[in-house]
Amino acid sequence: MAYDKFNILTSSAVPLPIENVDTDQIIPARFLKATERVGFGDNLFRDWRYHPDGSKKADFVLNNPTYSGKILVGGKNFGSGSSREHAAWAVYDYGFRAVVSSFFADIFKGNCLNIGVLPVQVSPEFSNKIFAAIEADPKTAVEINLPEQTIKILQTGETETFNLSGYKKENMINGFDDIDYLQNIKEEIVEFADKLPY
């Protein structure tokens, strides 16, 4: 599925300074029963967001109108646990286009890149600065510049660069995905497969 192009994103950010946010919190397993990729945003952080009776938990950040934006800033080791891409879908479907953390779990990070959500890994210091800036002013804007590979807190001007392979960066900027690439080299793949023992 080709996805949205990503260039420069400027937005306020939603802070979630909890460590080890696992995929079962991002989207609990009981909401994985769909056969289509729609509606997962409603159940993003379901059990942190809602009481069992469906009423909202007022103290959870997504229920606090003070915070909004297309950037989610999470604590260390964000997205650990399962390989369910539904977690990335839920983040996307809710309206986030980038997730910032000082450390991502591998599979979650890869899943995000595959669906057009940009995972931005920053230093622990920079992560703390963003949390502090949002605490001081919830409307603080953060700019993520993909071509330049920089993330900037606009109010303070503090900036950091982040890593991303050249290949993935091109894909994100152009909205291409891996299948497009793989489809184009199918002959090479088949030739390769013919030589394998099994």
């Binding site: 079962d24 919190q25 591998d106 599979i107 793989l182 489809q183 080299i185 793949i189 497969a193 099994y198």
Partner: protein, 464 residues
């Protein structure tokens, strides 16, 4: 140049290297199940493309299937819909499908090895993070997302940067009552749930050499819980003996040739790893987790650590203990429990049922405990009956359910109620993993058995 086991298998599957990008990585075997594949098939449709090698993909239904009355139609319409979608897609593309009720049906990571689909030196993926299980055979196996499932269906390849390499050496003699699950939980407690992130692990040392194939699967299964993409163990005679004669394993001359090749699959003596961890087997106790991630584990005789003794944020730690209803410095032994779950791709194999049965033999299940005993596959179920374990279990007041993932992720009806404690042989103790509000204590089959008998956390060594 000296290379590792991992290098050997990885490098032989790189179709092409992309400059400043991932490797195009060829996948030998692909497992799919009902939950993470429907959207991938939908993707194929949208693009108007088909499955390149249907014979390399194997479908089984496991994640949301009921574990009782499997002969009846699945009651939950959403689950039924997913099962039907898998069945239809498999039929449409000519993919082998072991659906509910099929005698080969079971948890994907149990039936793969059982049928010789898992082979040394192979690359194996599945839309489930515990695909790492198959590494026990010297395969590179790891979990992927749905976009990647679609890639594999369409092109038999995914795009992956090569992970870094880590070796975990465990040497010495394991004490009585300490098994593969304890070894794995101990490693994770040392590395934390992110200590392995970015790495692929190789398990080495006499402890793994001496371990059964089932035990090796338990260890490799849990690799993902320390953040590693996967873990593997060099194949040896035990591996070959396990595989010989299985349904999909090579036969005749092909077998002889395969074994010859498999014998070359080991790490060279002077190969270098990016990270190495050495553990003394004697340091490992029967383990139990007390928090909400698998890294929060301790020996059963220990007290829960204080917030200032652990790495990482105190607030996250306290939140975790509050969820569990525990206090810092609590003693684990004697804590009352409500549920016991024996099963999952971590501990749902025959050896696990043997170990559990050994402890409960001649004893009775505690009245306050609800126990779910769920074999990993129909083959395991049949073996439980054949070996007479079922009679012993029944005499002790236990009931055997039908195979599936069950309370490992509670997508079906096997849910632990809010606030209740479950001693579980599965792999994750995340908040709500076994049902909203459920509190999970991860442990080995014998720890689970001891809890089931006494109704509280008990050192299983006291029951030998």
């Amino acid at each position: 140049m000296s290379t590792t086991l991992f290098d050997k298998v990885w490098d032989s599957h790189v179709v092409r290297k992309i400059d400043d990008g991932p490797d195009v990585f060829f996948i030998d075997r692909h497992f799919i199940h009902e939950v993470t594949s429907p959207v991938a098939f939908l993707g194929l449709k949208e693009r108007g493309i088909t499955v390149l090698y249907p014979e390399r993909t194997f479908a089984t239904a496991d994640h949301n299937t009921p574990t009782i009355n499997q002969h009846l139609p699945v009651a939950d319409p959403l689950s039924a819909n997913q099962l039907k979608a898998l069945e239809d897609s498999a039929a449409e593309y000519g993919i082998s499908h072991w659906g509910l009720g099929h005698q080969k049906n079971g948890i994907v990571h149990v039936v793969g090895p059982e049928n010789g689909i898992t082979l040394p030196g192979a690359t194996i993926v599945c839309g489930d993070s515990h695909t790492s299980t198959h590494g026990a055979f010297g395969a590179i196996a790891f979990g992927i997302g749905t976009s990647e499932v679609e890639m594999v269906l369409a092109t038999q390849c995914i795009m992956q940067p090569k992970p870094k390499k880590m070796r975990i050496n465990v040497n010495g003699t394991l004490s009585k009552g300490v098994g593969p699950k304890d070894v794995a939980l101990y490693i994770i407690s040392k590395l934390t749930t992110s200590g392995g992130t970015g790495y692929f692990a190789e398990y080495a040392g006499n402890v793994f050499e001496d371990m059964s194939m089932e035990g090796r699967m338990t260890v490799c299964n849990l690799s993902i819980e320390m953040g590693a993409r996967g873990g593997m163990i060099a194949p040896d005679q035990k591996t070959f003996d396990f595989l010989e004669g299985r349904l999909y394993a090579p036969k005749g001359e092909a077998w002889t040739k395969a074994v010859e090749y498999w014998k070359t699959l080991k790490t060279d003596a002077d190969a270098i790893f990016d990270k190495e961890l050495n553990i003394k087997a004697e340091d490992i106790e029967p383990m139990i987790t007390y928090g909400t991630n698998p890294g929060m584990g301790i020996g059963i005789s220990k007290n829960i650590p204080k917030a200032n003794q652990v790495e990482g944020g105190e607030e996250t730690y306290k939140k975790s203990l509050a969820y569990m209803g525990f206090e810092e410095n609590d003693v684990m032994i004697g804590k009352p429990i409500d549920f016991v779950f024996l099963g999952s791709c971590t501990n749902g194999r025959i050896e696990d049922f043997r170990a559990f049965t050994e402890i409960v033999k001649g004893r009775k299940k505690a009245d306050n405990v609800t126990a779910w005993l769920v074999p990993g596959s129909h083959v395991v179920e049949a073996q439980i009956k054949e070996e007479g374990l079922l009679d012993t279990l029944t005499a002790a007041g236990f009931v055997l359910r039908q195979p599936g993932c069950s309370a490992c992720l509670a997508m079906n009806d096997d849910k632990v109620p809010a606030g209740k404690y479950a001693v579980s042989t599965s792999n994750r103790n995340f908040e709500g993993r076994q049902g909203p509000g459920s509190r999970t204590l991860l442990a080995s089959p014998i720890m689970a058995a001891a809890a089931a008998i006494t109704g509280k956390l008990t050192d299983p060594r006291e029951l030998f």
